[in-house]
């Protein structure tokens, strides 16, 4: 989100919260979110793609709601009205095509012809109709939608598949294939949308899915403050806030939301953007020759990524708070933690909690239940590395994200073993507050440097350049 997007959304939320209070608050959040996913989607060179990707998000969310909802909720008449309202908003956005170019402010480029949109509506409507005629909902629908979501995710995250997708879409829109590139196609917010959908599908499969109507479900998945950069809330927590009576914004909430918002803007647009000028990137990585300056740009990147990401989170939490929604925290001073395990408990917390709940814990439980379980260290190695590799892939399936995932997976394993072996000794040694502080501070410094070196893989796009940067840091080159 650019500064003007944030300011407009904050102003609109403030206006709504002070003027209308609880009247139609959920409707406001729903319609604003629908408009925002079109508005924030970046323009792409494939004709119509920047209009159809947000529309695809909506279709996917509606279909997922339909198969996860319970019978009684699914059959309510009001669902039809709600879906018609959403379709009208999309149609309105599509119709701005006929306005002069200066007024096409809500879409990244001129919206496409109406025909395709209408066909998409028709197909979605028919699919819902067919699904609703089925007397019995089979569990396999959930599996299919889970695989579909994961499949779409892979399509976007694996460069080879993305290129194939771009070529396919270019052919579909009758465009030349000469300039095809993986940057042709961008699906804003999909990483986060996919994780919220997988969470709801998995919870439905294990029978813990709360009954929510279509307005609540869509608002949860595409809630505009958290759409582009999280946090990844849990459905049951989100709807608790959504259903709680909202008496409008009081002074106390206004101050704390405003403070959070301003803090976020300062972190993102002042600190992070200033650090970005000197932070490690593909071009300065090869230009910097001195060890000292290499450390400076690596440190700058470590702080830039923290202030950028946690600043965005503050903005999201601040805007949501204006509307009476308390989104979960995503960062809790991660760079001040004395070990890597604690770093990951406090960095992008909602993502790590998600992976713990839907990957790490089930795998660990399964490995534990073997008749002849493998050794504990082996199990820890396997689960930590697999989890961190997946977190790496979540950012993109490339060699550098693989190395970054491995770096952290092995780091977590080594910390776990080290802790196990030295815990008793450390506790026996650190008997005075001074010794405890010394242990704590050295832990913080070591952890920060481990994480900072890991960021090299994250920031750069090639393993070779990353390795050269590491060699320079340790004067070995």
């Amino acid at each position: 989100m650019a500064l003007e997007n944030i300011l407009i959304l904050a102003a609109a939320s403030l206006l709504w919260a002070t003027t209308f209070r609880n009247h139609g608050r959920t409707w406001f959040m729903l319609i604003a979110s629908v408009v925002v996913i079109f508005w924030l989607q970046p323009a792409v060179p494939i004709r119509g793609a920047d209009f159809f990707t947000p529309l695809a998000t909506l279709v996917l969310v509606v279909l997922t709601w339909f198969i996860t909802a319970d019978d009684a909720t699914r059959k309510q008449r009001k669902n039809i009205i709600i879906l018609l309202v959403i379709a009208s908003v999309v149609l309105f956005l599509n119709l701005t095509r006929f306005l002069p170019a200066d007024f096409q402010l809500l879409t990244p480029s001129r919206p496409p012809q109406l025909t395709t949109t209408l066909i998409i509506f028709l197909v979605t409507g028919l699919t819902l109709l067919v699904l609703s005629r089925l007397t019995r909902f089979s569990a396999s629908f959930l599996t299919v939608s889970l695989l579909l979501t994961i499949g779409l995710f892979l399509l976007i995250k694996i460069p080879t598949l993305s290129l194939w997708l771009s070529s396919f879409l270019r052919t579909l829109s009758g465009q030349s294939l000469t300039n095809v590139s993986i940057n042709d196609f961008r699906w804003l917010g999909f990483s986060y949308v996919a994780f919220r959908l997988i969470h709801t599908i998995r919870d439905k499969q294990s029978g813990r899915f709360p009954s929510v109507d279509v307005v609540e479900f869509i608002t949860y998945v595409i809630f505009f403050p958290a759409f582009t950069a999280g946090p990844i809330d849990r459905l049951e927590r989100f709807i608790k806030d959504l259903r709680a009576p909202f008496a409008g914004l009081n002074l106390e909430n206004f101050y704390s939301a405003g403070q959070r918002l301003l803090l976020g803007l300062f972190k993102k647009f002042v600190i992070a953007d200033a650090l970005a000028l000197i932070a490690l990137n593909d071009s300065n990585a090869t230009q910097v020759t001195s060890t000292f300056w290499m450390w400076v740009i690596v440190y700058a990147y470590a702080f830039q990524i923290y202030f950028d990401f946690s600043g965005y989170t503050d903005v999201a939490l601040g805007i949501a708070q204006l509307l009476g929604i308390k989104l979960p925290e995503n960062f809790a001073s991660p760079y001040l933690k004395p070990n890597l395990t604690q770093f990951w408990n406090n960095w992008h917390m909602t993502l790590t909690q998600w992976f713990r709940a839907y990957f790490f814990n089930p795998i660990t439980r399964w490995l534990r239940s073997w008749e002849k379980p493998m050794s504990i260290p082996m199990m820890i190695l396997l689960t930590q590395v697999a989890t961190m590799l997946l977190i790496g892939f979540w950012h993109g399936v490339t060699w550098n994200f693989t190395l970054w995932g491995l770096w952290h997976g092995l780091g977590l394993f080594i910390h776990n073993r080290w802790n196990d072996a030295t815990k008793a000794k450390a506790a026996a040694w650190a008997t005075t507050p001074a010794k405890q502080a010394a242990l704590n501070i050295s832990g913080i410094l070591l952890t920060f440097h481990f994480v900072a070196i890991g960021w090299i893989f994250f920031a750069l796009s090639s393993p070779v350049t990353s390795w050269q940067v590491i060699l320079k840091l340790f004067r070995a080159h």
Binding site: T341, R356, N361, T364, N416
Partner: protein
Amino acid sequence: MTTEIITSIAKFIAEKILKLPSKVISPDEALISSGLIDSFSLMDLALFIEDTFGVRIEDTELNAETFDTLNQLAALIASRK
């Protein structure tokens, strides 16, 4: 009842997870948010609770939001027994 649950879990955590048998864990001490129990050991705790009390704690519930102290954990177990 609750006291018994707390005593038995505190003993398990100190001996099996922390490997510091003499450590006293107070019922209000943060276990997860403080980093005292890591995510791998948390599954040990869940399996121990399942075996000892016959109460299942789901994969999605092993976090500081569901329970962070012995008191909260004992209340959760008692409510499901």
